[in-house]
Symmetry: none
Subunit: 412 residues, 2 copies
């Protein structure tokens, strides 16, 4: 199936936001076996939307639109679509009832704008949007499909996953495509490519391997397509296993798994409680850990010691250590681990202290210098890494690295 | 001048990379007085590029293309453009000499691909690319312009700044465009729209107002265009001020400001130190605060009390309180604030405890129930909100709300 993506809204055309929706959608649709014929962004303007829609329908079997469905005046996508398909707009009581209940639960009241939002094109299928007030709309005409979704990323993602992609697959059945994703942490893309070189040469033409690196992790994706779906699944399983054998302990999971969830499983299996002591990551490491449902069963808490005072008073870092070696040092992170184990009565602790930037660098310790330590009551391991110059990236990269350090410690 | 942006390359259509070039270009072009009629991404495919180019030229005065100019085989933009404009390709010695010198300086040798790259459409103006090997190309036809640039961001940015934008300004002297963005937190889109309704009706046709909501914050954007640029700036300033007057304390900043930075400025101005005591947000609130450069001057740290034990032992929450009212209660968050102020010796503390989900909900306290408190040594304010059902959204929404609560507390 050929799919065209269209975003509606001036905020993209004036460069105020980056269109990350299209990228996410393209990735999911590719996984579902679709080919994207093009991506376009158009203004909140009737003539422009109509022109782009006609052009997109000429190129593709389905056009997926996002944006322009909110309760305020600048949203005209729905009106334009109703016109385009020659459908009248009618007030839709069930949608209004749903919005009323939604707001009641939040303890808030609705406005006239919400009522206006409930006029729907008669003949379109409404797609239930569990994440917000505006439903998606599904139009069929001459064997082609147009879908309109809200532009809010998590609303669009929900609709795509539970409504749009399953319907598209039923509407346009095709050649099976399948994937296996192997998740690694601890080595860069080129090192991994070296270890997989001869295996890549072995791959048959209908199976491909892609490298998707991000912040200290590399996802490896095997994709294949051939008429016999079951044979394809068996082939992919076999190659995924070979990749895993070659990479050994670098592999922490598969498919949509996350490093923080892998660490959680290890802690749970070993019956251990983790705590963090964070300086430069400022809580981001704890956030990653607690973003996993059920993390309260193995994560007790953290001390975010952004000031040296908190490092000394709470984590019992020796003032002499801070004076002699500085807050960003092997000695300090090791004492942070010991202090956190003691204070929060945990089995394993991880500590991070570094210079996230943009300020605070020096010739000996430039911006991006990060010390981290992991330990229990018996031993403490330390490690230094050099991240980059961008503050937010440094925080994310250090946290990802520290998580992997915990994983390695637990796997020993 | 009306400008259309086009990116060429499959890596965007399969969702492997996000198109950040178009966003950057749109922003710069808007500042230069251009209106973007649309943005599109097309495949490395002759027919597709020609079709999109014809369509873009029909809509706009100038089409700026990026991508598809490298030395590898799948790059066919140049060939397609030469065909489109009926220009023969000829070997261009000066470009080849420049590439040879460039590689000599790097101590590397060129390949056959680099020679192929030096065939240029006769009649196009070559734009000097100081950052790489492929020059930009400028085509003129029937009073319209097509520009082709490499897709590498810093090469494109160099060409845009020093070659393309100055030429476009000379070619299409025209109408300035300007924007004002007003940032709010604390009310939803529809409530704000109600308060601005009569002001929206007052707006002249050349000024528009757009609503951009996200996680408890709404950005309001005024955009305008008219011949007299200075008059336009004055008009926008006047309307931005009116918006601000109507919305009062909902407004926390302008343009690209962030709520966490606004809170930081208030703390700095009042000479106060902030700490957080987090349960369900698990460090995300501290992460937002410490994502601001220089936050160490007003942020001391946090206790992430994920377990009740840490709430009791570190934050001195009374076991009786936890027993009687539960961890997600007004009483608990109030005691967490007092405990954090004491323990971390701060001036202001904020505490959050809630049920992020998916587990842990009950009929009286469903998933999404969040209690928060803000206080100093004199008083503690509390508030309950209901977020949604998605764990990560609940964490982000609670943290954003808590930040705004701190702002309101400091502004009293």
């Amino acid at each position: 199936m050929k799919v065209h993506l269209m975003t509606v809204g001036d905020e993209i055309l004036i460069g105020q936001i980056v269109d990350t929706n299209s990228s996410w959608m393209a990735r999911q649709l590719n996984l579902a076996g679709a080919r994207i014929t093009g991506i376009c962004s158009v203004s909140d303007d009737e003539a422009g939307i109509e022109h782009a829609l006609a052009d997109a329908l000429w190129q593709a079997d389905a056009v997926l639109m996002t944006g322009g469905l909110g309760p305020t005046k600048d949203d005209i996508t729905k009106k334009t679509l109703a016109q385009f398909f020659g459908m009248p707009l009618e007030f839709h009581q069930p949608t209004y009832d749903r919005i009323l209940r939604f707001f009641e639960r939040l303890g808030r009241t609705t406005t006239e704008g919400h009522r206006r939002q409930c006029f729907m094109p008669v003949g379109a299928t409404l797609l239930h949007n569990k994440m917000g007030t505006a439903p998606g709309m599904w139009f069929e005409k001459d064997g082609k499909i147009v879908v309109s979704m809200p532009g809010v990323p998590y609303e669009m993602e929900y609709l795509m996953e539970y409504e749009v992609i399953p319907r598209l697959k039923r509407f346009f059945p095709g050649f099976p495509i399948a994937h296996r994703t192997i998740l690694t942490a601890g080595e860069g893309e080129s090192k991994i490519a070296e270890r997989l070189e001869s295996l890549e040469d072995e791959l048959p033409p209908h199976i491909k391997l892609a490298y998707l690196p991000n912040l200290g992790q590399v996802r490896l994706r095997l994709s294949g397509s051939q008429p016999d779906g079951e044979a394809l699944e068996r082939e992919l399983d076999a190659y995924a296993q070979k990749v895993q054998e070659r990479l050994g302990a670098l592999v922490f999971g598969f498919e949509t798994d996350r490093l923080e969830a892998a660490v959680g499983r290890l802690l749970q299996a070993q019956g251990k409680k983790l705590v963090t002591a964070e300086s430069c990551t400022g809580g981001y490491l704890a956030h990653l850990i607690t973003s996993v449902p059920g993390s309260s069963s193995y994560f007790k808490g953290s001390v975010i010691a952004y000031s040296n005072e908190v490092k000394m008073k709470q984590l019992r870092v020796n003032p002499q250590t801070l004076e002699t070696y500085g807050a960003v040092s092997e000695q300090t992170v090791a004492e942070m681990v010991k202090g956190a184990l003691e204070l929060l009565e945990a089995d394993v602790a991880v500590a991070v202290s570094g210079i996230a930037g943009p300020g605070g660098g020096s010739p000996e310790k430039p911006v991006g210098t990060i010390w981290m330590a992991v330990g229990d009551r018996e031993k403490v391991l330390t490690r230094r890494i050099y991240a980059g110059k961008d503050r937010l990236k440094n925080i994310e990269y250090s946290a990802s690295h520290a998580l992997n350090f915990v994983r390695q410690f637990l796997e020993q």
